[in-house]
């Protein structure tokens, strides 16, 4: 069974309980006390130790327009646990795996901090945890091992949402979904979630809301997302890519053009080294 999230942004109230629950359960360090002025978003972005991020988009109507045309969009963002995951494909150590729940999981004791997954995620999700950001008490319950040594002494390792792998193994719902007071975050079997989401879109459309699903029935090289979203505006407004591309699709062209260039120059070299006196 593939598990995932259906995050319905139309009922998110921006309480950030999901962010807090995630930090608490996963023992992630705080993000400091920055004040951005970007509506209520002081978290700014997903990061190595910030695995839920609530985006706030204020769309205030100018005074000439009638009341009721302003909108305040809120969306709890998370790792998408892609069907074709750029991070997983790029990882040279095999640290990033697809676990038994079909979710994309970074094994902390395998990751060597090479950082190649970071630019390989088309959604800008995964990042490196610097050793300094991490409390000494952090342990990775999910695989029964502590990687304090790796974290504390030498550079970082990659960090992103585990889809609460440890909680799932114990039959629990991920912390964010459990904490969400509005059920904006649904957790469950991806196929069931998709049915539920399609119905929700139909209901919203019937009442005149321009809703659609992001990450369902996608024709991109990334494919569908195990953690998908119901949105009411263009993806870019929530800082999601309009068209994500799976980085490994560039490999064929890259290897081919490198081979052509190297072979051509070698042949030229061969001719030169034979002909030149």
């Amino acid at each position: 069974m593939a598990t995932g999230f259906f995050t319905d942004t139309t009922i998110c109230i921006g309480c950030k309980a999901c962010e807090v629950a995630c930090k608490q359960w996963n023992q992630l360090p705080g993000d400091g006390y920055a004040f951005t002025g970007n509506s209520y978003d002081n978290t700014v972005a997903l990061g190595a130790t910030t695995w839920r991020h609530v985006a706030f988009v204020e769309q205030m109507a100018p005074p000439e327009e009638p009341v009721g045309t302003s909108r305040w969009l809120m969306m709890s963002d998370v790792c998408k646990h892609c069907t074709n995951a750029g991070c997983l494909e790029a990882c040279p150590t095999g640290a990033i795996v697809r676990n038994e729940f079909d979710d994309v999981f970074i094994q902390p004791d395998i990751c060597n901090g090479c950082g190649y997954c970071v630019p390989s995620c088309p959604f800008g999700v995964v990042d490196l945890i610097g050793h300094a950001d991490y409390p000494a008490t952090r342990s990775f319950e999910s695989d029964g091992r502590s990687t304090d040594d790796a974290l504390q002494k030498h550079g970082g390792i990659a960090g992103k949402c585990t889809l609460c792998y440890d909680r799932q193994k114990d039959g629990l719902v991920p912390a964010c979904a459990k904490a969400c007071p509005t059920e904006s975050i649904h957790f469950g079997d991806v196929d069931e979630l998709k049915d539920q989401a399609r119905q929700r879109v139909a209901t919203l459309r019937a009442s005149g809301v321009d809703a659609y699903l992001y990450g369902v029935d996608e024709d991109t090289s990334v494919g569908d997302l195990n953690a998908f979203f119901l949105l009411t505006d263009a993806p870019g407004k929530y800082n999601l890519p309009e068209r994500p591309v799976l980085p490994s699709t560039h490999q064929r062209a890259g290897y081919t053009s490198a081979a052509i260039a190297a072979a051509a120059l070698t042949l030229v070299g061969f001719a030169l080294f034979r002909a030149t006196k």
Partner: protein
């Protein structure tokens, strides 16, 4: 104790009343007319039709510093030197070149893992790279390519050292471990892979300027690696004394062709990439790349090569400039990638 409920009641403005809100909005606009387009509060919110999320980056920047730049640079020269071992006419004029190129390939194949380990933080971490062979991961392919390359490079250099009498008498038999007929072509094939893959490593990511250069960056890496190898080997021959003039001319000509090809690829990338290429071309890194790589690393050495006389300073200067240009090219690629990750517009519709 009873509470005087009426006294405690606070008058609440009927905020659901459209008239009150409209009045407040008009008042706001009068107070801060410049900010009216930002909406009610006029506190600098982006306009309603903003296409990005507060101009925040959509992608994460690669955390690659000088170690990776040095690795990409040395990898190119190492691969190019592997190719040179196969090109050199060992039984004719180029005996010296073949010998040098084998030592260079070995020295760099030994240096690169050290640079990678520096990047990872500690030696054991490099071992994690060797857990698996993963064709989908360019980095995994690169690490295995490096290890594969180091085999013929080490065998070739060991045999060379034995032939050169650099090994103690008891080890002279090692001259048989690396027959040139085998190590040279292997070094060339694996070297070509290494020189080119350093470009694929970048272009097979989500970073817009790198992904846009999926054909150009690997080709320019291969060209620059081969040009750099010619430059370094020409420099070493020059330092080593009186190089064979035929070998010198051969190296100069191959370097010229490789450099011109590199320049052509860079210029074509500029045309192809459009605004997505701006972090690479139109930026302070871009300026540096134009001066150090295109002008200093390609145009000047090429012109020097055309001068109708030979002088030690000419070869040394041209080679050094080419090497500096190659380093700056890698540095610009990495820095441009970081800037490109910060552009949410380029990252939204990602290059196919």
């Amino acid at each position: 104790m009873s509470v005087d409920r009426d006294a405690a009641r606070v008058p609440i403005a009927p905020m659901h009343d459209a008239g009150v809100i409209d009045a407040a909005r008009r008042e706001m606009r009068d107070l801060a007319p410049d900010n009216a387009r930002f909406g009610v509060a006029g506190v600098g919110l982006p306009p309603r039709d903003a296409t990005t999320y507060y101009e925040q980056p959509l992608l994460k920047k690669p955390h690659w510093e000088w170690e990776v730049i040095v690795y990409l640079f040395l990898g190119g020269i190492m691969g190019g030197s592997g190719i040179l071992t196969a090109l050199a006419d060992e039984h004719g004029e180029d005996a010296e070149l073949g010998r040098n190129a084998r030592y260079v390939a070995f020295a760099l194949a030994s240096t690169c893992p050290v640079v990678l380990i520096k990047h990872l933080g500690r030696p054991e971490r490099f071992l994690n790279m060797l857990r698996i062979v993963k064709f989908k991961s360019v980095m995994s392919m690169g690490v295995w390519g490096l290890i594969a390359f180091s085999l013929p490079a080490t065998a070739g250099a060991t045999a060379q050292a034995a032939r050169d009498g650099l090994l103690p008498k008891q080890l002279r038999f090692l001259r048989f471990v690396g027959p040139r007929a085998i190590t040279n072509p292997l070094s060339a094939i694996l070297g070509a892979f290494i020189a080119g893959y350093t470009g694929v490593l970048l272009s097979a990511t989500a970073i817009p300027v790198w992904a846009k250069g999926k054909r150009h960056i690997p080709a320019m890496s291969a060209c620059s690696g081969i040009a750099g190898a010619c430059a370094l080997n020409a420099l070493l021959l020059e330092i080593g004394g009186n190089p064979n003039p035929v070998t010198r001319r051969r190296l100069e000509r191959l370097e010229l062709v490789a450099s011109l090809a590199e320049a052509a690829v860079i210029l074509d990338f500029r045309r192809h990439a459009g605004t997505i290429g701006d972090p690479f071309f139109v930026s302070k890194h871009g300026r540096k790349m134009e001066i150090a790589t295109l002008l200093g690393g390609i145009v000047v050495p090429s012109l020097l090569g055309l001068l109708p006389f030979h002088a030690k300073w000419k070869t040394s200067l041209g080679s050094t400039l080419t090497l500096v240009g190659g380093y700056v090219l890698r540095e610009t690629l990495i820095e441009a990638g970081k800037d490109s990750a910060d552009d949410p517009r380029a990252a939204s519709r990602q290059p196919e």
